[in-house]
């Protein structure tokens, strides 16, 4: 048993924190929010030069061959920085999907480009009648001579405006779900911006008779379902890691503030009510970190992980918001100001808590795993 990072992961973590502190300060998070560009290009290139895009891509496709466990180290650091860039969408969701595809041509075409930071891809999954899970997908993919003809509406598509590809899930006639890498510049695709709390530049995406060539098919039939179930696990735990990073930063900021801020002639951190709030936050952060670690380890080791993944996502989604709100409470009025960073973390964890299944959705999955 080792409940800490291993040596390589500690090095990765140190490098990531150093890079993000200098290249992704909160001023950049705000300027990215206010800028018309989908995300800061310079930051993206810098991340690619760090090798992060290729972390879990295998060496045969110009990647570093790291584990999912390694990836969560990066995601935690990114959560701590409220990273305003489509790393999760590209290097976690899309790279994982393509890596597990049996389409060798697709891998050879796209993985090296992702690894080099030359390709941005994002997930188009959610629909008006489907918030979480894979049931009730209404978008259609009709097979034709060259591939599929896709129609439908996708919601909450992050960074769609900056994406080269849309990793899209649609329903076929009779062969279940299909997963496609759709060229974002294909005729028939239109976007409507749908701003959300966390500044992640989301869009509604409309597919109107979009032709997708067969060399962009990631998976079909049973393979597609299996791939998506795995992807849901990876994404849920990945979001937990982001939340753990954000929670830790909130805790650190709050403890420091409680030591510095004086009222009634003493640091407010000397008051038991504040101490107990901070102690609760610390136990929440530790609990969230270990549950996330357990789920990440099971996924990394290819062990059955459904229960642990849903335990982590249901718990972390709940306590991350609790911690962020308590951070606001201890800071008082300053935390209600745009110029102060606390709200960036509240926004971050609120969004991550809903992504890939909220607390209640995953609690129900845990109940199923308990045999209920």
């Amino acid at each position: 048993m080792n409940l800490d990072k291993n040596t390589e992961q500690t090095m990765l973590d140190d490098a990531a924190r150093k890079f993000l502190q200098s290249k992704c300060p909160s001023s950049l998070v705000r300027s990215a929010r206010d800028d018309d560009a989908p995300f800061p290009q310079e930051l993206w290139q810098g991340m690619a030069e760090m090798g992060w895009m290729s972390l879990t891509i295998d060496q045969a496709h110009e990647g570093l061959g790291g584990s999912f466990d390694d990836l969560t180290v990066l995601l935690e650091a990114m959560g701590a920085a409220c990273l305003p860039a489509p790393y999760f969408n590209t290097a976690v969701v899309s790279a994982t999907a393509i890596s597990r595809s049996s389409a060798t041509g697709l891998k050879e075409n796209l993985l090296p480009r992702i690894a080099a930071g030359k390709l941005v891809s994002t997930l188009a999954l959610i629909e008006p009648d489907n918030s979480y899970g894979l049931d009730n997908i209404q978008s259609t993919a009709v097979a034709n001579a060259n591939g599929y003809l896709v129609n439908g509406i996708k919601l909450f598509v992050e960074y769609a405006q900056g994406a080269d590809y849309l990793l899209t899930v649609a329903n076929t006639e009779g062969d279940g779900l299909v997963v496609l890498m759709i060229d974002a510049n294909s005729p028939g695709i239109s976007l409507t911006p749908a701003p959300t709390l966390d500044y992640s530049k989301q869009c509604e995406v409309f597919f109107n008779d979009v032709q997708v060539e067969s060399d962009l098919v990631v998976a079909t039939g049973e393979d597609a379902r299996e791939l998506l179930l795995y992807l849901e696990q990876v994404c849920a735990v990945g979001k937990c890691a982001e939340m753990v990073g954000a929670m830790q930063t909130v805790l650190d900021m709050t403890v420091q503030y409680a030591k510095d801020r004086t009222q009634f002639g003493q640091p407010i951190g000397g008051f038991q009510s504040i101490q107990h709030h901070c102690a609760n936050m610390a136990v929440d952060v530790d609990s969230a970190r270990y549950l996330t670690g357990l789920a990440a380890w099971k996924v990394s080791e290819n062990l059955p992980a459904a229960k642990e993944v849903s335990m982590a996502k249901s718990f972390v989604s709940r306590v991350a918001i609790r911690v962020a709100k308590m951070g606001h409470q201890v800071h008082g009025a300053i935390s209600f100001c745009d110029e102060f960073d606390m709200h960036l973390f509240l926004r971050k964890v609120q969004s991550a808590s809903m992504a890939f299944g909220d607390s209640e959705f995953h609690q129900e999955k845990v109940a199923v795993e308990l045999g209920l």
Binding site: L3, D69, K259, Q275, A279, D286, L294, Q363
Partner: protein, 401 residues
Amino acid sequence: MDFSFNDNEQSFHDELNDFLDKELPADWYTKPVRWPHDYAGSPYRDPKDEETGEVFRKKLADKGWLTISWPKEYGGRGYTNMEQAIFDERMSYYLAPASGGISCGIVGPMLLRIGTPEQQEHWIPRIASGEIGFWLGYSEPNAGSDLGSVSTFAREEGDHFVFNGQKCWSSGAHHADYSWMIVRTDADARKHAGCSLFIVDNKTPGITMRPVINILGNHSFNEVFMDDARVPKENLIGEKNKGFYHLMQALDFERISLVGIGTFKRFLEELVEYVKTSTRNGRPLKDIPSVRHKLADLATRVEIGYMLFYRTAEMLDRGQEPNVESSALKVMATELARDMAEIAMEILGPYGQLTEPGERAPLRALVSRGFLESISATIGAGTSEIQRNVIAQRGLGLPRV
């Protein structure tokens, strides 16, 4: 992170399972009157089970398993703290009568750390063999959470200390042979700097006890009075007037060794099984969303408890003091014990109130007891408020005002 046991740990885990399957009846877990993180010391309902338990406990002592993480030269097995944790988990999951109790869990490890070679030679073998039992002489009528203000005074006189004062909430003192006691030895020093630790024989002339019945109707507590009780100087443990600081370490052991993490898993499984097989107003309990979600939440928190538990073992094996971490474990586990009882009570509805086993009392009527038992969990061995102070002040560095 890596959550797997290494080869030694895994084979020890398997060995424990085999041993438990062989030495205890398959339905043993239904015998003890227990609840996760209980203190109340309820007797077995059937005296025959008491005998079975004693035989089992003797076998553990013979194998050296009550003291597995102690060095071999002191009657232990020299196992790691992680193996000790695995032992505690398996034994508590089976509800086996395996606790080395205060003697093996607190006094022994403390003597190995701060006792003189003569003290170790004198006490350790008798503790390891299970021959003698201890009670904790900490609380007094005016020293509960503020333990540094104990006022029982030990006056030096020749080769003895003469004790005068009173201890309270002295759990199991009437079954034990000795006390592990903190008293004041310097009346002038700042309050925390004037305390010392002693081993005190219950048979010392001048010591009297009054039983105190707890809310479950059991005689577990006592008041203990000391009236010119003479304790030999060689029973002073650790440095004179450093007792409070030694005690802080002893409290870590208490918070870890009393958790009984496996009992949480056992009762969760029993509650899940009950929900799977029961109906309410003609509707399967398992189909009620609020019930499903409460159980999912309990299961998640049990999993967290396991990790906070193993973390303390990992730290001890690295030579670190799991001071803040044992407080986090204690506050988390005891509040879970309380919530588990409350949720079980809600799920069982009116049947949860029944106090005696029978056809209509699910889970052997343990829920009503757990409901009361768990009141002590968040109070004894440092209240939840004290644990949070420890986490905030020693863990996060917030000021002590």
